[in-house]
Amino acid sequence: VDSYGKRAFVLTLQAREQHIKRERATSNICSNQALAALTSTIHVSLIGWEGMREAALQSQDKAAYLLNGLKDLIRRSNLLGQMPFWCEFPLRFASVESMETFLAALKSEGIFGGVRLGPLTKQDGDERIVLVAVTEKRTKEELDRYIAVARRVLA
C-alpha cells in the first residue's frame, strides 16, 4: 500500500519501461530527443519539400499580417526598427511595465504574446523587447484577436 493506504503496484525486476515494448522492438523511445527526432522525421516525410515551402511561405505571410496590424500602434509608442524578417519579429516597448501589461492582457485572452528577449540575450535594452513568432498553424481570426487585444492595451 502507498502512503495514503491505497493499494499500489510496482515494476519488479525491470530496468526500464519494458511493458510498453513492442514485439520485435530493439529499443524503447520515451520522452527524449530521439522521439522528437522521430516525430519531426515523420512530419517532414508527410509534407515533403513542397509542404515545407508552403509552411514557410504561410508563416511569413501570417507574421507580416500580424505586424501590419500592429504597425500604427507600434509607431505611436515608438517601438520597432524595420529589418528583414521571416516569421519572427521583435516588439520593443517603452518600459518593462508596459511590456508585462501587454503580455498579461494577451495571456488573459488565452494568447501567448511572445518570448521575453531579456533573459535570453542578457543584453542591455533587450529587457523590454518581446520576440513574436507566427507559424502556418495560426489563422487570420487568431491574428485578428491578437491585434484587437494589442489595440486595447496600447492605444
Partner: protein, 59 residues
C-alpha cells in the same frame, strides 16, 4: 530488417499532407538573396506510404 531508407521510397509529386489555404494576404516576402536556389532534398510521400514505412520500423 530489410526496410529501405525513406529516401529510396520517395516518389516525386506525392504529398502526404496538404496545408489549408492561407487566409491572409500574400506578403512581399524575403529578398531573393536570402532564398535557396534549389528545392530542399526532402522525401515525397503519400500518407499511406509514411504510415507503412514507420509502422514496419519496430520502434
Amino acid at each position: 530488417m530489410n526496410e529501405p531508407l525513406i529516401f529510396d521510397l520517395s516518389r516525386s509529386g506525392r504529398r502526404g499532407y496538404t496545408y489549408p489555404q492561407s487566409d491572409v494576404p500574400t506578403s512581399a516576402g524575403l529578398n531573393d538573396t536570402l532564398l535557396r536556389k534549389s528545392p530542399a532534398q526532402l522525401p515525397q510521400f503519400s500518407e499511406l506510404d509514411v504510415v507503412r514505412h514507420f509502422s514496419r520500423f519496430p520502434a
